[in-house]
Amino acid sequence: MVPIKSSEITSEHIYVARRGFIKAMGFTAAGAFLAACAPKSSPDPIDGPTPVAQGGMDELGDPLNSFDAITNYNNYYEFSLDKTAVARASRDFQISPWTVEVGGMVRNPGVYDIDDLRTKFAQQERIYRLRCVEGWSMVIPWMGFPLKELLAQVEPTSDAKYVRFETVYRPEEMPGQGSGFYSWPYVEGLRIDEAMNDLTLLATGLYGRELLPQSGAPIRLVVPWKYGFKSIKSIVRIDLVDEMPVSLWMDAAPNEYGFYANVNPDVPHPRWSQSSERRIGETGRRDTLPFNGYAEEVAYLYEGMDLRVNY
């Protein structure tokens, strides 16, 4: 092998400067690209403000999961079945402009711009546990506002018994929606009293920042006492209806995923136990709590119901 002459080796200050230049070129190009197709600034994973949460733990004293863990390990089947691939696959997802149409059995139907929703309803931080039906969990500092505030605006009629939510349908941007196995777009639903519960949140951010695409930007539901799949992402439609909506998961496997999907250690998934879970960041397992630890706030909603039947 011919030894490389020391004069041929790029000195450190030059290659650092060169890297800086290349990086700057990249950012300029990316900036131009974003400016071209996104009139309103979208949160940038690189340049965004430092993720900061006001609280440091949930009410049970468990620490928050990191911003990195929350935004790089999650399910979003519209983008990828691989929890670690969602962030990358959703990078170019267009979240602006965005409107949410609220209608059905309401007195004041309306189309809400995402920016109006952010200003009209005071954004607050809510630190919630998220328990995935797969058996893992996180503690997440969401930003958002209670769904009941939006419902109060649109005034459901007395016929409205359920709330039906729908995710955007954009197969060209969401490769998973090309899969014929599921009936897209994603649909979820809540009983109206569940929707009116103070815990039920419409989230627009987490860790003090606007949501990134992988987390369900720009607006998603968070129902902390139910399995994660109930917390539908990237919502474009909310309808008040009189019949129980059929969710995407109910449609895919009705005997395994029910309408209620309350976190319940005593009601196993037909194929696996739900009695324990792994908190992301921990190695062992911890007991799963009834209603994910929110029994005091929500157990009354299900009094007299057989939760084995209404899973």
Partner: protein
């Protein structure tokens, strides 16, 4: 196929056998095995075990179809690597994930079909791995072959376990299951007899594996 190619095949098998484990250990120890490394390692080792199980079941049909007996020496190793990854899979599940918590494990294994079938698959693979040596082959004589036919049961059971562990979409496990059934079907007497005739058709494909120097097939099996 010359002896050199046979050795290369064997070396390749061993590299392919250890590489997934090494990659996984490096990824885990450097914090690059997702934010849920326990689950990732469980899924990965299980999937790798199934891949080796399928490959080990494919060797005999490959011989039947193409007359490629040269692959037979690696069959045992493919089976042993399937067992290795099944053992890693089971160790992570019981030791790391459930911390040897017997009450939780009992619930997970006895009450839930997918873990039960998984445990059954492992209990089938265990004696096969233990008796894989030439010494055991001699000691068990005819019974060795009978015992090792349990691999035909392990394949479908592993696939059922794999399918049951999915959230809803089981297209990949179904594809694996069909492949395994095909491989098992090619072992049934009449099917095998018919398939062994087929080997003379794709001569060109077969020629690819024949040593270019001698032009004849090396049928020696160690």
């Amino acid at each position: 196929m010359s002896k050199r190619w046979g050795n290369l095949l064997l070396i390749g098998t061993h590299i392919a056998g250890w590489l997934p484990l090494i990659i996984m250990i490096v990824a885990w120890s450097t914090g690059n095995l997702t934010f849920n490394p326990v689950q990732a390692a469980t899924i990965r080792s299980g999937r790798t075990a199934i891949i080796f199980l399928v490959l080990s079941l494919a060797i005999t049909p490959i011989n039947t179809l193409f007359g490629l007996r040269q692959f037979i020496p690696i069959r045992r190793w493919l089976g042993l690597y399937a067992f290795l990854y099944a053992a890693v899979h089971v160790s992570i599940f019981t030791g790391v994930d459930y911390g040897f918590d017997l009450a939780l494990l009992r619930e997970a294994i006895l009450e839930k079909p997918y873990a039960f079938v998984g445990a059954a698959t492992f209990l089938i693979l265990l004696p096969l791995a233990l008796t894989s040596t030439k010494g055991w082959m001699r000691r068990l004589k005819k019974n060795w072959k009978r015992l090792h036919r349990l691999a035909y049961l392990a394949g479908p059971l592993a696939t059922i376990h794999y399918a049951w562990a999915q959230k809803a979409d089981i297209r990949i496990p179904i594809a694996v299951g069909i492949l395994i059934l095909l491989l098992l079907g090619l072992r049934i007497g009449p099917v095998r007899a018919w398939a062994s005739q087929v080997r003379y058709l794709p001569r060109t494909l077969r020629n690819l594996f024949i040593s270019h120097n001698s032009g004849r097939v090396d049928l020696s099996v160690r």
